[in-house]
Amino acid sequence: MAVTEPRNENQNVVEVEDLVVKFHVRSDSGKRTIVPVDHVSFSIKSGEVLALVGESGSGKSTIGRTLVRINRPAGGTIRFDGQDVSSIRGTALKEYRKNAQMVFQDPFGSLNPVKTIEKHLVFPLKKHRGYTGQTLYQKVGELLHQVGLTPVQEIRVKFPHELSGGQRQRLAIARALAVNPKLVVADEPISMLDVSIRAGILQLMNDLKREFGLSYLYITHDLASARYFGDRIMVMYGGKMMELADSKELIKNPLHPYTRLLLAATPGSHGNVNLTDQSNEAPNLDSERKGCPFAFRCPLATDICREEMPELKNQASASSRVGEHLVACHHSP
């Protein structure tokens, strides 16, 4: 599979090559293996936001969790700053987590209800960065201030249940930042928040990106926020990459039938997609499957689609300034 070469002089923070993740599951018919992430390659540059868009079962969260090494890859490599982190363990893994942090979807479930806000930040600051005493106290204050949790003195001593959803997500972000990471994997960080709060969290993540030169993998199901926050968007279906391009380009000029379907279904697009597709079935993730995972819902599908997974090809016209526009479809123009 073609690996995306950096065209920019910017350095790649993350390089993922042919990543495969497998899970063994028990079902009625005995044990089987599913492949939620199937030969996926991408890179994230320093200071770049890669938005990863897909529906449930697309493998987007699994990629995020594998990137911070909660899951172990079954194949392929993850390089961080040039170093292979795909199978590191122990101290090396702990060290790596200083660089790669994760913000989870549910700010109600990812905080410890019996710890004060301050304690949530004291732990990583002490453990990973060795701050103590007055410096530690100051650093906690700084972090809270940076994520907009003010007045700091009042917030410090509160417990998570005393915060609103938006405030909790800010704390989760502060906790991720505490170890001074280079990469933040944000898995649907705004989807559980109220509409009026979401924009503030996106803005905060944007500000922090500039301030700290952070790179993000922004995982979402919402193309509109992906377009806003992401420099590039990668669309996944059934564990496979369908399309990857500059955000504006992808929304303006979607080449994959699945991306087009997603776009048309997104509220606000006023798309009149004819969903002949009543199949509410989840994509087949079985390790034995063949062909393009989207074929069974695809209006353009032909025999070859059901037999053979199309390769990712660069479809950007030579004249365009959008760089790469990767598409995996037998029928893309």
Binding site: E55, D194, V195, S196, A199, L261, P267, L275, N280
Partner: protein
């Protein structure tokens, strides 16, 4: 009552709902008046804690757990819902008005087949129907929501989320009610599935002619589905507007405007978004005057003390001092 308009399907007159709490009565819904006509889809938008689900339960006369109607009238098809005794109410519910609940995906009974659950409705409300008739009815309902009737024998866990949601909708419209209240029916569904459910709701609504009160927190979704949109904040209606006017070129309540600015637009050339500062209010400790004033960039002195009343602004109902002052001039 106006004579020209058809009889409204739903009329809310100054509805207020309270909750008993340790710190006294908390008003979750304050003085809401709203009318829905036949064949209409009205969207109700609000954030968590705005009282939108409480209002839905109040309409269904389903308030419980220390919640109660503080005042006002809920009139469905000319009938005051709160004048019915419990026996009448049981008949009235589902026959005349039904509801699709939030997280309806989990509203189905896991140990009964789909057919048993659809049949339940008929057994309770149409005792004269034979088993055979009920089965036929169940088959046609499944076809109506585009699910193969073979799934009548399935258990809920055997269906996908989208299919379960369709079943729940089928159950809600089984007795052909005049009003269907849908409380966040597509939350937790994938966008493509969501779109197909919304299309289905529109299609059914056109075919059957029931009115829908569609409750959601998703602005762009409601704007696409409903003709009129009511926006709630801290238990009050702050605006009722046509969905076509939901853009920044039109003048709105500052909260509506804030929401419009907070949503990234999918197709615009450049996107800027702006969050609304602060947090949704605590109902126990509501700000004085207009509850939105601590977050409002246009807030004036009067906003801190006097709650604004609804005014007609170019055909939209807006409760904001920006417009009342203007009206006075």
């Amino acid at each position: 009552m106006s004579n020209n308009n058809p009889q409204p399907v739903l009329e809310l007159r100054n509805v207020s709902v309270g909750y008993e709490s340790a710190r006294g009565v908390v008003q979750a819904v304050r003085n809401i008046s709203l009318t829905i006509y036949p064949n209409e889809i009205v969207g109700l938008i609000g954030e968590s804690g705005s009282g939108k689900s409480t209002l839905a339960n109040a309409i269904m006369h389903l308030l419980r757990n220390s919640a109660f109607l503080l005042g006002g009238e809920v009139i469905v098809q000319g009938q005051n819902v709160y004048d019915l005794n419990s026996k009448e109410l049981k008949k009235f519910r589902w026959n005349r008005m039904s509801m699709v609940f939030q997280s309806a995906m989990n509203a189905l009974n896991p140990v009964l087949t789909i057919e048993q659950q659809i049949a339940d409705v008929f057994k309770a409300h149409r005792p004269q129907m034979s088993k055979h008739e009920i089965h036929d009815k169940a088959v046609s309902l499944m076809e109506l929501v585009s699910i193969h009737p073979k799934h009548l024998r399935s258990y809920p866990h055997e269906l996908s989320g989208g299919m379960r949601q369709r079943v729940v909708i089928a159950i809600a419209i089984a007795l052909e009610p005049d009003l269907v209240i849908m409380d966040e029916p597509t939350t937790a569904l994938d966008v493509v599935v969501q779109k197909s459910i919304l299309d289905k709701i529109k299609e059914l609504q056109k075919a059957k002619g029931f009115a829908v009160l569609f409750i959601s927190h998703d602005f762009s979704l409601v704007a696409e589905l409903a003709e009129r949109v009511a926006i709630m904040y801290a238990g009050r209606l702050v605006e009722v507007t046509g969905s076509k006017e939901l853009n920044l070129e039109t003048r709105h309540h500052p909260y509506t405007e804030g929401l419009l600015r907070a949503i990234p637009e999918l197709t615009a050339e450049s996107v800027t978004i702006e969050g609304i500062p602060g947090n949704p209010p605590d109902l126990i400790n509501l700000p004085s005057g207009c509850a939105y004033h601590p977050r409002c960039k246009y807030a004036m002195e009067s906003c801190k003390t006097v709650p604004p009343v609804e005014k007609d602004v170019e055909g939209r109902l807006i409760a904001c001092h920006l417009y009342t002052e203007e009206a006075v001039k």
